[in-house]
Symmetry: C2
Subunit: 307 residues, 2 copies
């Protein structure tokens, strides 16, 4: 059995975003819509004794405090059930929360060498001691078996694979926003005992046949739900970029995620990394009803999925 | 008139700290003690129209959301009354929150050249566009007059000065933990209309005659309250370092802050940057009563001071 807790399901900025007064952010500030932190998941294959965090959101300190499953275990003065953090990209909303996991605990960081290189080039992450908190390079297309801090097996198999995406915004330089291998990865996490498989794709710019093959047959899928429609940021007056320019597909439309994944056999489909411009945040919206009618979930913080 | 909102008054890690099960952190998790984020202050000299944030705590997104004074102003789609961020050092608990102020707003970052150099060396901070968010070097011992994003005066005069301290933990390399100019600065913020002066010293390893001269006569003092006693981390089993090694004086004792500043003329004295190991977090503690009897305040989040 795999347990997955959604610590947050919003995209960068969260809901509300600090400087946004769109009607959803205003509603969240007023308490009329649930607040939602930036996307982080926690995954356990040993019934909640140890957890792997997927992406370290800037809100991670509050998310950990708000999840009783991630509290220190009884009779220990300093402790955490967080055994590791797995990063799918180097965007601020995926890595800044590492800075909230300082203070001497032992866990591992697993990421593509490109993301580890970004961490290494930013000395602020040296606050995480590399002896106690080893940084482990994940090789694409090759199974690995994450360990617990004491060296014991976690019960999980991790298969990482490339996903069409783009480099982190702050690293867009000479390379521009072109896709390159390792900038954005997807994860298949398999429970070694039951064989149950969770597929996590937090950012995706294009659905290719290779990607479909990675997803097909998953018991539980978490997929990039940044935008409802490609131009919604522009139409709402919130930005100048299309979803395509940001490296994110839309949920709706003939080329959208819902349509493009409809033919695949998947146990349960869950959208995460949902931008504050996306109407599905509002449970009363027509778009939310469409999403749910198509068999997708839009999770609130602390919602748990089991497979 | 100067208004100061305490967005958070805890030291690095906050209360509760993610991996701490000391009795105060357990009480905060259980709701028996107030949660408290890492230290950030907001200062306004124009009756709350514009604010300068002092130190960008890792909890800044939640702190901004939790303070109605810092919400977007009416009739604007994207907006913030935050006109600038002033940094007193480069520790994670003072700068990580800058990463939560991305998303296109215009404000300025004011800091010592050493801290700006650390930001420049860490590309993750490039997520803050340097045209819209200029980085302004603060010269010690020289008055400066922070401007609003539109170039208008803020009504504040800033005088920055060296404080005995130490370099940020993650920058401790060849230099070790030795003090060097610019690693930790203090701030005098003066309301140009009324002359009221707020003195902010978020970290301090030693009280010198030069420092006393900077503090004397302040109408409102915010001072480093990390520890109650120098060896409290060791005695509680929470760490191996003394306060002196961490670059922080203690509140208590003949060489403590309370005793050493008692002879100075100061309008109001407030402790901030209070570690979760410090018993004064608990309003029922004997130490809290001693602190208050000595004329010091221990502020809860969102407490406001006016002078």
């Amino acid at each position: 059995m795999v347990r997955v807790i959604v610590l947050g399901s919003a995209a960068g900025g969260g809901l509300p975003q600090w400087n946004c007064a769109c009607h959803r952010c205003r509603a969240a500030r007023a308490g009329d819509l649930s607040e939602n932190g930036q996307m982080s998941l926690a995954v356990s294959a040993d019934e909640g004794v140890n957890w792997f965090v997927i992406n370290a959101s800037p809100d991670l300190r509050q998310q950990v405090i708000g999840s009783s499953a991630l509290s220190p275990r009884p009779d220990r003065l300093r402790d955490s059930p967080i055994a590791g953090v797995i990063l799918t990209n180097a965007e601020v909303d995926a890595i800044a929360g590492l800075l909230s996991l300082r203070e001497g605990a032992a866990f591992s960081i697993l990421a593509h060498p490109k993301v580890l290189s970004t961490l290494a080039q930013n000395s602020i992450f040296d606050v995480l001691d590399r002896v106690r908190i080893p940084r482990i390079a994940v090789t694409l297309d090759q199974a690995c078996f994450p360990l617990l801090p004491d060296g014991a097996p976690s019960g999980l198999r991790l298969d990482a694979f490339d996903v069409p995406g783009k480099v982190a915004l702050y690293l867009e330089g000479a390379a521009g926003s072109a896709t390159a291998s390792g900038d954005t990865i997807g994860l298949n996490l398999t429970d070694l005992r039951s064989g149950a498989r969770v597929c996590i794709i937090a950012g995706c710019a294009e659905i290719t046949p290779a990607l479909e093959a990675r997803i097909a047959g998953a018991d539980l899928l978490f997929f990039d739900g940044t935008l409802w429609s490609d131009d919604e940021m522009i139409r709402a007056g919130l930005g100048q970029k299309t979803g395509k320019r940001m490296g994110h597909l839309s949920m709706s439309g003939p080329d959208g995620v819902i349509a493009r994944l409809a033919h695949l056999k998947i146990g349960r489909r869950v959208f995460v990394h949902i931008n504050n411009s996306n109407p599905v945040h509002d449970p009363a919206s027509a778009e939310r009803q469409q999403v749910e009618a198509a068999g997708w979930s839009v999770p609130a913080p602390n919602m748990e999925f089991t497979t």
